[in-house]
Symmetry: C2
Subunit: 391 residues, 2 copies
């Protein structure tokens, strides 16, 4: 019989990694309220508030806008599983870890993933997507969708969307956009993208720039995406993520599907409320401002960005680990001595970059200042303490 552990109390970390970000105390208090039943008319009202505010955040009028009861990974799988049918050809832009994950999901679901690959740290040129769509069309089996990541969390690249939206539609396919790290932190205009043609399907996570704890994945689907879903030969393999059933649960029917994570929905509602009160444009400007502060500061430390300035994602900053510096040791000292979390690199960038997230409630000047001070100590200061002398 092992002893029961005592109550847990987390250390007061400054979260500047790739997510989760810190959470406003008001959001945590909202989360700690007593749960309601998930079919209670009062809770249904909470769900409708969340839908309405998610539409504002995504800048869309899509009726099918809701939060998947799961993580951002569940949001990605919801988007892909509802679109892809076996043998479908899907163009997937792979410029980092999360693009590669979209391709993996397409393949597991029986689709054929046609990759448009670029080195990690670069953007996907629209011409490459167009060539790939052309080639698929010429082969007689045109692609059903183009999947791409707006803000590639593994590299710190912000992918331009407009041209890809237009040319994908011109090829009769739909655009699926991963907005996990962009929604609420950089400009995203679901209905306005591509000169008003619009992104067809997009999903995000609660725990990045929206400022809620992890556990919900906002998702929105427009008319073209609905047409693809309604034209399926078979229902999605996932009952859990079937958007037709989820829409009936979130909608007027209140048809039972699963038990929503009530307290997480409370938290998301409060986080959205605070985001919209701040103003979405003001929020994007704040994320930009703390990024600029970071950029000035790291220049003073002699650190360089991985990504060309034109494509740099302000909310996730990939900094090159200087030659001769031990990536893990620096991150360990930041965490243990300064209570600051940053992320390491993934895949080919492991050991080569640090990922500094400035998202949501983490995106504050005091946090950047603390990070810069800590890095100055760790990277630059002469060793102040010596081993005690034996006397």
């Amino acid at each position: 019989m092992t002893a029961t552990p005592g109550p847990f109390s987390p250390p007061a970390r400054i979260l500047l990694g790739p997510g989760p970000a810190m959470v406003d105390p008001r959001v945590l208090q909202a989360m700690a309220q007593t749960p309601l039943g998930h079919l209670d008319p009062t809770f249904h009202g909470v769900m409708q508030d969340v839908r309405a505010m998610l539409r504002q955040a995504f800048r869309t009028s899509n009726p099918l806008t809701l939060a998947i009861s799961g993580t951002g990974t569940a949001g990605m799988e919801a988007a892909i599983a509802n679109v892809v049918q076996p043998a479908d050809r899907i163009v997937v832009c792979v410029a980092g870890y999360f693009g590669a994950r979209m391709a993996e999901m397409v393949r597991r679901l029986g689709g054929e993933a046609i990759l448009v690959e670029v080195p990690w740290g670069e953007v996907v040129p629209a011409e490459r997507v167009e060539e790939t769509l052309d080639s698929a069309r010429r082969s007689g089996a045109p692609a059903r969708a183009v999947c791409l990541v707006h803000a590639e969390t593994s590299t710190g690249v912000l992918q331009p969307l407009d041209d890809i939206v237009r040319l994908t539609h011109a090829h009769g396919a739909i655009v699926v956009v991963d907005a996990v790290t962009s929604l609420g932190g950089v400009a995203l205009d679901v209905d306005g993208a591509g000169g008003g043609e619009g992104i067809d399907l997009s999903y995000s996570g609660a725990q990045k720039c929206l400022g809620a704890p992890p556990g919900l994945a906002p998702l929105t689907a427009g008319a073209r995406a609905l047409a693809v879903m309604e034209g399926r030969r078979t229902p999605p393999v996932s009952f859990n993520l079937d958007l037709a059933l989820l829409e009936r649960y979130w909608g007027r029917e209140r048809a039972y599907h699963h038990t929503a994570p009530i307290n997480s929905v409370y938290a998301l509602r409060e986080a959205l409320r605070l985001a919209i009160d701040e103003g979405l444009d003001a929020r994007v400007a704040r994320h930009r401002r703390v990024h600029d502060q970071l950029r000035s500061g790291v220049a003073g430390l002699g650190l360089e960005f991985l990504v060309d300035e034109r494509w740099r994602l302000p909310v996730l900053n990939a900094l090159k680990v200087p030659d001769g510096v031990d990536d893990g040791a620096v991150r360990g000292r930041l965490l243990e001595e300064h209570n600051i979390e940053i992320g390491g690199g993934l895949g080919p960038l492991a050991g080569r970059i640090w990922r500094v997230g400035l998202m949501g409630y983490s995106a504050r000047e005091e946090n950047v200042a603390r990070f810069l001070t800590a890095m100055r100590i760790i990277l630059g200061a002469p060793r102040m303490s010596r081993p005690p002398r034996r006397t």
Copy 2:
């Protein structure tokens, strides 16, 4: 531009429906603590505490014991998607809504669901399962698994497991048990079931008898289930629910897979801690005691149980709606006038039963007393108010 809604404050409901149940304020406070990064060594320690306590709750030594980052429905899909491959034959016991849902998932995943059906409100006899397994074996395509629900939330039946565990193993198949509504409220012995042969794969939900908010699905898999998973020809169609990847995330490797819902894990840790402090046997006895209190009380109201006393599930009580009584009107008055939520019937039992859940923190004598008082007023009291007379 719609106005931003104000902060939300839920009414103080007594939750006596099929779930979510009420949550101890200590669990809600644990949930409201500041998030840590999901790969933070301190958070990894929290995950290990949760694993150890889940093993105690499930009464298992299975190394692969963790919480799926999703709802009970995600837990069900995780269990089925990791086992079922296309064309697999799976015996599914259907005695209510959740058995039917297991069959639906098997079919969506490309498996052949061989149903053992009984009327809702009855148990599945072990002989029927044995006949079905025999018949499948004689046909040359034996079943790979038997899926069944331990506590059928739609009917209030507690399904005996021991005989089915033994005969399923004798047929070379594995047993998958839905323990969403049983874990923490009625006796469940994963390793001891079937005279020590053990249940091979089982999942639950955080929000029922364990007393945490919804959003996590405890799951445990034993050696026979692992052998089936390792023998797959293809990986599971769900990346999000791939247990091999989830084990690497929860285990020593801390290999990134998704961002765990940190605050929900805090809450589950605290709920498990309180459950184990109470003592699992004492907790089961408490659930039984408040059920007995309810049973005595509803007898005084002239209400009858749907389910034969031998199979009655103490934590979810299906009461027949008396002839001439309007199901929805009674539930509406309970909610609006008394702040008490109970559930209605699903499927063929819609309008015919009320479902009174006594789970976790809801399973307290004061709640039963309030429910009985309210029902006495609604069902039995003479009409005290009259329409005002015109004068």
